[in-house]
């Protein structure tokens, strides 16, 4: 099981801020998780499209597509940050 969080534009567009997921075997990395979520269709496909500047953090550290997903991981998808 992993926890997936969505922030800002993604949270609004996807209509959820958090979900518990049990990805199938074969979803072992951030990139594979994004592919799997994209297959849901609709806004999932457009918001997580490869050309969208989506950032991902795993256990609150910035991650890249090949970052592995430990069991129980907290994975967050969000747009480039705009604080300050």
């Amino acid at each position: 099981m992993i926890t997936v969080l969505y922030f800002a534009r993604l949270r609004e567009s996807l209509g959820t801020d958090r979900e518990q997921l049990a990805p199938p075997p074969g979803v072992a990395t951030v990139g594979q998780l994004a592919d799997w979520l994209r297959d849901r269709g609709g806004n999932w496909t457009t918001e997580l499209a490869a050309d969208k500047p989506v950032r991902v953090a795993v256990n609150q550290e910035m991650a890249s597509p090949d970052t592995l997903l430990p069991d129980g991981a907290e994975v967050a998808f969000f747009p480039p940050v705009t604080g300050g």
Binding site: A8, R11, P53, M62, P79, P80, V81, T82, G84
Partner: protein
């Protein structure tokens, strides 16, 4: 070092006074105060909301401050960043750095702001007469953060 993420406003002068009180080795305090502008990208901003990622935000800010301390000979740093609804002229962020001499304090303060802008998970949504809109990341912020790599 101290990092705070809060909805409440802060008293800039009182924060700086407490930050340096009773520390006679401090010769320099460089500080930055970020404020809500009523105009951004030609649209009139009536209100904005700052969203963040609780937990990761504090962690990211602490890492940025720790990196600044590793790079420059500074005594201390303070970061206060607000979240929630904000209006024009409201305070958003305070960064203060103390050191013996000014060069280190200036550099570390600007470094912390540049990295905060690109690495700390905050997102701004502005309310304009045309409706709400998420602020896009600025390319100039990426450039500002990148230049520290060369040093």
């Amino acid at each position: 070092m101290e990092v705070r993420v809060q909805e409440a406003d802060f008293d800039f002068g009182a924060e700086i006074a407490a930050f340096r009180a009773g520390k006679p080795k401090i010769g320099a305090v460089a500080s930055f105060l970020g404020l809500v502008r009523d105009v951004n990208d030609e649209a009139a901003v009536r209100e904005m909301t700052l969203e963040h990622y609780p937990g990761m935000t504090e962690k990211a800010l602490e890492e940025i401050v720790a990196e600044a301390k590793g790079r420059w000979d500074i005594f201390d740093a303070l970061v206060i960043h607000r979240v929630g609804p904000l209006r024009p002229c409201d305070q958003i962020v305070l960064v203060a750095v103390s050191s013996a001499h000014r060069g280190e304090a200036f550099a570390a303060c600007e470094f912390i702001m540049d990295y905060l802008k690109t690495r700390a998970p905050f997102w701004k949504k502005e309310e304009t007469p045309a409706g709400g809109r998420w602020v896009d990341a600025r390319e100039t912020d990426d450039k500002a953060a990148l230049r520290w790599r060369e040093k």
